[in-house]
Every structure is written in C-alpha cells, then in structure tokens.
Symmetry: C2
C-alpha cells in the first residue's frame, strides 16, 4: 500500500504559525493546545492509577500527530472505526491499530489483511471486531489470500463484539459469543484476542448514577460471557470498550483491561452536559469553532459558522463566553450561518466583525468537516498559533 | 492567486470507471448521472420558458465539472456562499461567480478583490452581496487597495440583500436598502447591480399554497424597495434569489430576473417531501449514499453509513427501495452506522453484505462530507461507473 498523497498545506495556512489568533480566517476549527495537553495528561494519570491500558479512539481527531502525542503519553495505540482510517494511521507510522467495527466487503477485508501484514512488518499489530460467523469466515479467507503474497505470515487479533445494551452491532452475550470465539480459533491467521463491549448510549445518560447503573448491567453481561468462553478452554485475553462518559465505571471494574475513550481530549458540549462523576478527571473544552459576526440587526446577529462548520447531531454549539457581559445563545441559521441572541436581559447584540468561539455539540463529526485544526497556545483570546494539525483521515469513510 | 493544488485521485478510485456499481466501496456518494442530466435539462427548459436567467448555487455540488455542465445547459454562472468556494471556481475557469453572502473580514475582502480582478481578466464578472454600510465601506477599501496592484481596474457587482422574511442576513426592505444602494454608488470600484431577496425558510414549507402565499409577500417587499431605489434615480438592474422550493413563484413573478436554485439537480428527501407545485418540473432523486449491511439481527440490521456519510440537519435519510419487498426504514445509528428496520409487516431483515441506497435528507451538507461523487450511468442497481466527480470546494469554509 502506498502512503496517501498529502496535499501541501497552503502558504496562507503555514504562515499563520507564530501569528495571533486574530489572524485566523473564520470559520476555523481551533484547538486550545494547553487545554488539550492537560486533558491528555489527566487521562494518562487516570489510566495508570487504575492499571488499565488506554487505546483512545482516533475517530475523534483523525490525526496522526495527535495519535502520536497520545502514545507518547502512554496510550498503547489507537482505535479506528473504518479500514480507511486504519490505512492512514499505519501508513504514517501508527502500527498498533484496532478497527473496533465490523468489516464485511471482500474488497475491504483484502485491505485489512494487507494492513495486518504491513503493521506486523513494523512490529505492530492490527486488530478487528467481529459479530457474525460470516464475518469471521470472510476475514479468514482474506487473511489466507494475503498470506500467499507475504513471506512473513501476519496474524490478526480478533475481538468478539457483544451487544451490551446499545442495540447496534455485537453478538448476543452468552452462547452466540462462545460460538464465534470457537469459529475464530479454527483459523490460524486469526487470534482470538478477547471481547469488545461498548455501550454508546450509556455515554450520554446525564446522571452519573444512571451511567453507573447501566454499566453495572454491562459488567454482568461481560462476566457471564467471559465465564462461558473460558469454560470452553479459551482464555479471554482482554476486554475492551468504554467512552468518555462511562470510563470511570469500566476502569474500576476489574473486568475491562482497556479504555477506548477518545472525546476526553476535546470535550464537547454534549459530554459537558453530563453530570460529572466524582471519579472522573476534570476534562476541559479544547476544541472550538472560531467564527465572526457578518450581519447585525436590532434583535439578533448572524455569524459565519453554520452546520457545514460543526456537526449538529448532538445539538447546536454553545457560545463560549470570554466575558460574562457578552453571553450569547446560538440558534440554527442553516448550513453557513448561525443566529446569535443575547443570553439575558441587558446584554448587547454583537456588532459586525466581532469574533467568537463556539463549543461544538459533538467533537468527532465536527472534526470530520475540517481538513485541519489550528493549534493555539496561550489561551483563546490572546493566544498565538503554534501548529497546523492535519485531519489526516478526514472523510476516510470506507 | 495560485490555483489550489489537487491531490491526485487514488488508483483504486480511477480504476472504478467502467466497472459495475457493485465494485464501489461503501459508504460512497453516488450520482445517478442520467437522472441528474434530466434534472438539468428540465431546469434549463423551465428558465427558458419563463425568460429568466439561472445561476444555480454551487454550494450544492461544490464541483467545477458540474458547474460547467450547468453552464453548457444555459446557466449564466454560479452562486457560491463563501470566498473560498469562489476561489475554487475562478481558479478552474468558472469566471462568472456571485458570492451571495456577506463578507466582512479584511483578509477575506482582500481575497474577494483579487478574485474580482482575476475574473475580469478572463472576461468574467465577480459579484457579492452586502447588507450593511460597514460592509460596503470595507469592500470598497479592499477594491481600492487591489486596484493599486492591477493595471486593468476591475469593478465588482454589488447586490443589496434585503431580508424578506427569513430573519437572517439582509437589510430591512425600504429606506435602509435605498441608503445602501446610495453608499455603493459612491465608490467607483463598486457597481450597484440590484437586489438579492431569498427566503430560505419558504423553500421547505410543505404546502404549495403556503409557499406561494409566502413568496407573494416577498414580492411586495421587493417591489416596494425597488420602487424607492428607482425613485432616487438608481436603476435596479436585476433581482436575484429563489430556491428549488419556491422557484416557480419567482420565475413567474416578472420581478425576479435570476433564479439561484441549486438543489433541483440532486433532489433530496427534504425537498421531495414538499407538495409539488403543478408548475414545478418533476425533478428526480439523483444523489445517493450507497451503503452495505455489516451486522444483521433478529429485529434489525446495521449498515455502514451514519452521519459522517450524510448530513442529518433536515432529517435522516430515506432508504431508496429498488423493490417493494425490501422497503426499510432508517434509524439513527450514530456517526458510522445506520439502523434498518422493515417498513412493514412481512418484510425481511436484510442480511450481511446487502447493498442499499440512501436518499440524503439534505444534499448540500451531505456533498460537503465527501471528496468525490461517483457518477453512475444506466441506473442504480445495474449501472456502470462513468465518472469520478471531484467535490472541488469541499470544506471551503472561509
């Protein structure tokens, strides 16, 4: 596989480095690097304290540079959701990659098998999730075909995904998962690596107690399934899962050996709306859409960031108030505009040219709208551009 | 300005041309070229019949090749919403471009002024919208500065945008618009070109009668404002506006000289949900997200297209049924997945590997998620890939 060809960053972009934040053309995706690094540090400390591995989900940032930063802080590798994301990571030197999703098409499984060999050649390891015997058989076939073309024979780590209540992918906990584990063990190019148990919906239950109660049920399903599999003489090497919303539960469980949480690095408005669990590190907002007012009226103003700049699947962005006199609410203005109204009596309508920072509702799909993030050090309002961070796997859908 | 550097299309992509649709890796944005060309033909005929210009909005497709196809069918140029989109169009030979939005930042206005000169050098014409005297003054300043660097002195066409009920950008109809027209005429580098009146919300009023009634009020505002401006001795050269939802009203009005509708080319689920006006051409769905089932369960299946593949601001996608036995409803499965349930009793859950086509809720932001569209001729289920269409201005936000 050839590494993807990268379009050079434009001169107007690279020349931003060293300039004030006010030189940034809006709308733009801006990372508060200081806050992001503090978030990474808190996550590293948290994982160490609980003696669990962390393999943050790169679907959040889609950036090789940020994956590397996390691994320097102790992450064992990255999770990705798509084969194309894994290709971007492996091509750029991230060799421990877990595709935490089902892959079915023969053409994609051929790419997965080629990647497994490429990662192994760099002393890395590719892993993947399955939830059907058809998925296992197709994967084994692709791995066997790839082995004919490689001198060193790679083995791919395979996690059986179980549905622990989200109602999406995943085999039913219990005997169905046992059967899949047995199927995996029939194929020499596959290694049964353990279980994946992720409850997406639990991440956004607002109450800390609600999340704990839900993950307690997840634990029961995992323990039950693990016991059945191990009773058949197959050790369950690792249980992997957890997101930013519930990671305190999985980390303290003694069941999960690996945390996949990724959003902690940026913290979006949706996660910030959760009641914080006392055990949860205090993560800060580190990702912003910088925007400018382009039209101002008697009762509202209009800024230049709409939902081509930020995803709205988890709600509209919040305006990050830099001073209390200028608190604003953001209303839907369509693809290219946002409508701003004062958040309380006596607050002013912002004038034309006013800059503002929006906290996106959901960080992952917001990052996916942008080709790069502009890394700022020294705070939002007075900071300096320190780095242009490529969103290397932007649009890597297949 | 240098033309943007284009990343070469990957070999796996270019080698698709000539192959069956079934060779496409999912999820992918697929254009039914036959349907799209029929839509363009119907629009051209409609505009001709009503003796109005059409300047379709390129924010829909963001593609130079498709802009060219529209202009070959009679479009006078394109609208765009962002300076960066205009730069992509002008760099690739589309020289009649209207930035139908307000631009405020000095850095961006400098780019606008440079573009005006570049377009003029190719016998083209750049146009822009304004809604504030500050906007006019800033634009004039940028044009004056650019004129110092160019031997030929370009003039930019300036439309006064009036708010005809949408409640977003636009000056108040009446005296405020007159004052802006007068302000524009003070500056030799600006030419007062007319009025922009676009009612975005009216596009999606479901009843044909509701849309007609709403646009009747728009007409009153436009006529009133035009009369006031012309009473001051300033001819209103053109009134421009209209979207796919209301274009029958503007086309027949005798007031609007130019239609900006763009979505007609692809027709999304949201526009298809409108009650069709009898005068409206019968536009067909031409844009699809092709997806595959990757996980199948007792009561539902999971496909590989979530809202990183399609925008959901105007609702979830509809599953395009190729045969009535397999009608499915699509439910939110997050960023990377869709949940599929049979649309009625007795219909089967699709199995692993099954391909399906989704009609996006909203075409514009869906296209903006993809780097390219795969053009298919000969129908969806049995078609052949005919072209890879770049989304040249994807992510062109500034």
């Amino acid at each position: 596989m050839k590494p993807p060809t990268k379009t050079p960053l434009s001169e107007s972009l690279t020349s931003l480095v060293g300039q004030s934040v006010h030189a940034i053309d809006t709308p733009a995706l801006v990372v508060d690097l200081d806050a992001m690094k503090r978030n990474i540090g808190r996550m590293a400390e948290f994982a160490k304290k609980h003696n669990v591995r962390w393999r943050p989900h790169a679907k959040t940032h889609k950036s090789v540079a940020l994956a590397r930063l996390q691994m320097q802080a102790g992450a064992v590798g990255v999770c990705v959701q798509k084969t194309a994301e894994a290709e971007v990571m492996v091509a750029d030197g991230i060799h421990n990659v877990f595709i935490s999703n089902e892959v079915i098409a023969a053409s994609k499984l051929a790419r997965v098998a080629a990647l497994a060999h490429r990662a192994a050649a760099q002393d890395g390891q590719l892993a993947i999730a399955v939830d059907s015997s058809e998925g296992v058989i197709r994967l084994a076939q692709a791995m066997n075909e790839a082995r004919e073309h490689h001198s060193a024979r790679a083995v791919i780590d395979v996690f059986v995904e179980i549905d622990v209540g989200h109602g999406r992918c995943g085999a039913t906990p219990g005997p169905a998962a046992v059967a899949l584990s047995q199927e995996i063990r029939k194929h020499p190019a596959l290694r049964f690596a353990g279980l994946q148990a992720y409850h997406g919906k639990a991440q956004h239950l607002r109450g800390a107690r609600q999340r704990r109660d839900t993950i307690a049920i997840v634990m029961d399903e995992v323990r039950y399934t693990r016991r059945l599999i191990e009773a058949e003489g197959m050790p369950v090497g690792l249980v992997t899962g957890a997101g930013t919303g519930t990671m305190v539960c999985e980390a303290a469980s003694g069941v999960f050996g690996e945390l996949q949480a990724g959003s902690f690095m940026f913290m979006d408005a949706d996660y910030a709306a959760n009641e914080r669990d006392a055990a949860q590190p205090q993560f800060e907002h580190a990702l912003f859409v910088m925007s400018q007012v382009i039209s101002s009226h008697k009762e509202y103003a209009v800024c230049d960031a709409g939902h081509k700049s930020h995803a709205i699947d988890s709600g509209l962005p919040r305006v990050h108030a830099l001073d209390p006199d200028s608190e604003l609410d953001y209303f839907n203005g369509g693809d290219e505009h946002g409508i701003l109204r004062p958040a309380g009596a006596g607050r002013r309508i912002p004038g034309i040219g006013r800059m503002l920072w929006l906290v996106p509702g959901h960080c992952d799909p917001t990052v996916n709208l942008h080709d790069f993030m502009i890394g700022v050090a020294g705070g939002l309002s007075q900071g300096v551009v320190e780095a242009i961070i490529r969103v290397d796997a932007r649009g890597a859908l297949t």
